[in-house]
């Protein structure tokens, strides 16, 4: 007998033959009825304010702008404020490449000690101040982890109230290889419980929140 057979038959011997899958699925879904009873309220009325409040509490800095066209200026502002060079890694997404980057030097690919990178979030989650990114041809995962400064564009129109709202989309779409919720800059409390930023991932997380879609 294989290990698989041994494990499954030991479980069957204890639990019996089991219910029809449809019935199990219905029971599982019922466990999540009335989600509001078991999740936190939003921090503020309106998704952008709720998101911004949560994200700021986690040490994420926020810049709220009106449109995509303002992104290069917002990026330049951030790099300047942190004394960073105009060269930065940029996610190879068409909507970013389409912007006017004169005066700045975005490049594809991320060096092991990349100072800063700019990427695009698929969603923001208001409940927790989390950003959602998915792996794919135009989104290398390492770009969100190698740089010291991670700058993320987030459109207000893509904000979702709660984690469940994102989960519903994840099972509806074909789930990507990596789906990542980023909630604040990388940190650790492993030495005497004292909080230090930038353990392995970015020490700085900056969100550029865009009011109008593209």
């Amino acid at each position: 007998m294989t290990a698989r057979d041994r494990i499954l038959s030991a479980i069957r011997a204890t639990l019996g033959p089991g219910k029809p899958p449809a019935q199990i699925a219905a029971e599982a879904a019922a466990l999540l009825d009335d989600p509001d009873a078991a999740r936190p309220r939003l921090a503020a009325p309106g998704l952008p304010d709720a998101f911004a409040q949560k994200a700021a509490a986690l040490g994420t800095s926020i810049d709220r702008i009106g449109s995509m066209a303002e992104v290069p200026r917002a990026m330049a502002r951030y790099l300047d404020a942190h004394g960073l060079p105009p060269r930065f890694a940029m996610q190879p997404a068409p909507e970013l490449a389409a912007l006017d980057w004169s005066g700045l030097a975005p490049h594809p690919g991320t060096a092991p000690d990349e100072p800063a990178a700019l990427g695009l979030a698929l969603h923001g989650i208001a409940e927790s101040g989390s950003l959602v990114i998915h792996s794919g041809p135009d989104n290398p995962i390492l770009m969100a982890f190698l740089p010291l400064h991670h700058v993320v564009l987030l459109r207000e129109a893509t904000l979702l109230p709660h984690l469940e709202d994102y989960a519903a989309r994840l099972s509806a779409e074909a789930a990507p290889r990596n789906a990542i919720l980023i909630t604040g800059p990388s940190g650790t409390t492993d030495i005497e419980g004292s909080y230090v930023r930038g353990a392995h991932g970015p020490g700085f997380l900056h969100v550029i929140l865009i009011a109008e879609p593209g």
């Binding site: 494990i7 011997a13 989104n139 994840l170 353990a199």
Partner: protein, 471 residues
């Protein structure tokens, strides 16, 4: 891991109690954890409802475990992952080692996983001649120290910053420039970054196995899991079969409980779902993903009175709130898992004969059950182990004889009252104020804490006197 205990539990506990630096280290971390959890719960009035739901989700999965295992296997396979099954720790080690050797791996990075510790993966990799680099900062510290984790969330919590500085000075090239945590974290970031990018294989655990998507989920605050699993050619996941959840939404419901109970945060900085290897066109990611589903005693727990322990989501709240853990720390327990949850699990993993002291080293104050986010009745389970130990004749003769004598006396009310009338005044002779600091034959108790000084007269004597006065 069925590591032989180095010394009897009592000796380990005594050594831990005599270590003042250890006590400072434990207090700093568990005190912080307790305060932060309390604050997180105060800000989440829905916690009790969420907890009842979390418990119901775990019970639902446990009741249909076979169904969910097969569903997960089917969906993970459809995403291109290779699913392996291991009935015990030896099989799990063999599977992981075989994958590493077949890939001719020289360097393996590992993101913290208690299951990996449970199955003895660190030793197995060393035995196979493979360099293993722990990437979680705390695991990095204890790897430099050659130690095992002392806590399931903060594995290096027994080390003070001064001790960490010594380890980094010897283990980092060049050594960190200063001893403050920020400088030391920077040093580890620099040293480990090279390893992340040159590893052949990355090994992680899983906080959840999502049945309907076939994804495994890791949560970290450092970002080391993604740096461990993305650059290497192969990603291996080792996970216990109790980690299943029906869907991503169920994982989130449990995540809300897990993070608040563990660190007092609301979400970990990085919550990542891994569904199979790199897809065609993907910018990065591993070419192969292997998932090892490990039983190692879990299907046995399902069949006996320890089934509720399969609900455990490994948050560590029980140990942070345990009066015993907070005195002796994690290493004294001698198993992979310390604290109350460890005292329930270690007899499953290492056998009751080798670990019967653990269920006995509990005051039954019930705090662990109060804070458990999935309502595991830990004191009840510990009592079940005590009962079994008695039934199987594992308790020493002196204890059996002592309890036998007590039972004889307790079943004879006159004799019992006589004994208390003689005993109470004698005990009171040793007391100062409300407490007894030293008592002959009771050094095991009074060496490390005081005993309450008993009342001058027994309850029965006081009751009678009161009844008489009323008439």
């Amino acid at each position: 891991m069925t590591a032989p205990f180095k010394a009897p539990f009592k000796n380990r506990a005594r050594a831990a109690l005599a270590d003042p630096v250890l006590k400072i280290a434990i207090d700093r971390t568990t005190g912080n954890a307790e305060r932060k959890r309390a604050a997180a719960l105060a800000a989440f009035p829905e916690f009790e409802t969420a907890r009842a739901r979390g418990r119901a989700i775990k019970d639902h999965v446990i009741a249909h475990l076979g169904h969910y295992l097969e569903l997960f296997e089917r969906n993970a396979t459809a995403r291109g992952a290779q699913v392996h099954w291991a009935a015990d720790d030896a099989e799990a080690r063999a599977i992981v080692t075989r994958i590493c050797l077949a890939a001719d791996a020289k360097l393996v990075t590992r993101a913290k996983s208690m299951l990996g510790e449970e199955i003895g993966l660190p030793h197995a990799l060393a035995d196979a001649g493979i360099e293993r680099v722990e990437t979680d900062l705390a695991e990095h510290i204890i790897q430099l120290a050659g130690e095992a984790p002392s806590h399931i969330i903060w594995p290096a919590m027994h080390r003070t910053r001064e001790q960490v500085a010594e380890l980094f000075k010897a283990g980092h090239q060049p050594p960190p420039a200063a001893e403050d945590p920020a400088t030391m974290v920077q040093s580890a970031r620099r040293v480990l970054r090279e390893k992340f990018l040159s590893a052949d294989i990355g090994i992680s655990g899983a906080n959840f196995l999502v049945a309907d998507t076939g994804a495994t989920c890791t949560v970290t605050n450092e970002g080391n899991a993604e740096l461990t699993t993305t650059p290497p050619r192969i990603h291996i996941v080792t996970a216990g079969i109790e980690k299943l959840v029906p869907s991503t939404a169920h994982a989130f419901a449990l995540l809300r409980l897990l993070v608040r109970s563990a660190t007092g945060g609301e979400m970990t900085q990085y919550t990542t779902f891994h569904a199979g290897p790199r897809r065609p066109g993907d910018a990065d990611g591993p070419e192969e993903m292997h998932i090892v589903l490990v039983d190692n005693g879990r299907s046995r727990m399902l069949a006996d009175e320890f089934r509720e322990m399969l609900r455990c989501i490994r948050c560590g709240a029980c140990m942070n709130h345990c009066v015993v853990y907070r005195q002796i720390g994690g290493h004294a327990y001698g198993g992979t898992y310390p604290g109350p949850m460890g005292a329930v699990l270690t007899p499953v993993l290492d056998g009751l004969a080798a670990s019967r002291d653990l269920p006995n080293a509990c005051t039954m104050n019930g705090r662990c059950a109060e804070v458990c986010p999935v309502g595991i009745p830990l004191p009840t389970l510990l009592r079940a182990w005590r009962r079994r130990s008695w039934r199987e004749g594992l308790e020493p003769g002196s204890l059996r004889a002592g309890i036998g004598i007590w039972a004889q006396v307790a079943r004879r009310p006159r004799l019992y009252r006589l004994a208390t009338r003689i005993g109470l005044p004698l005990m009171r002779l040793f007391g100062k104020g409300g407490w007894i600091a030293r008592l002959p034959l009771a050094g095991g108790w009074t060496d490390h804490r005081d005993l309450p000084r008993p009342a001058a007269r027994s309850f029965m004597d006081q009751y009678r006197a009161q009844q008489k006065a009323r008439k």
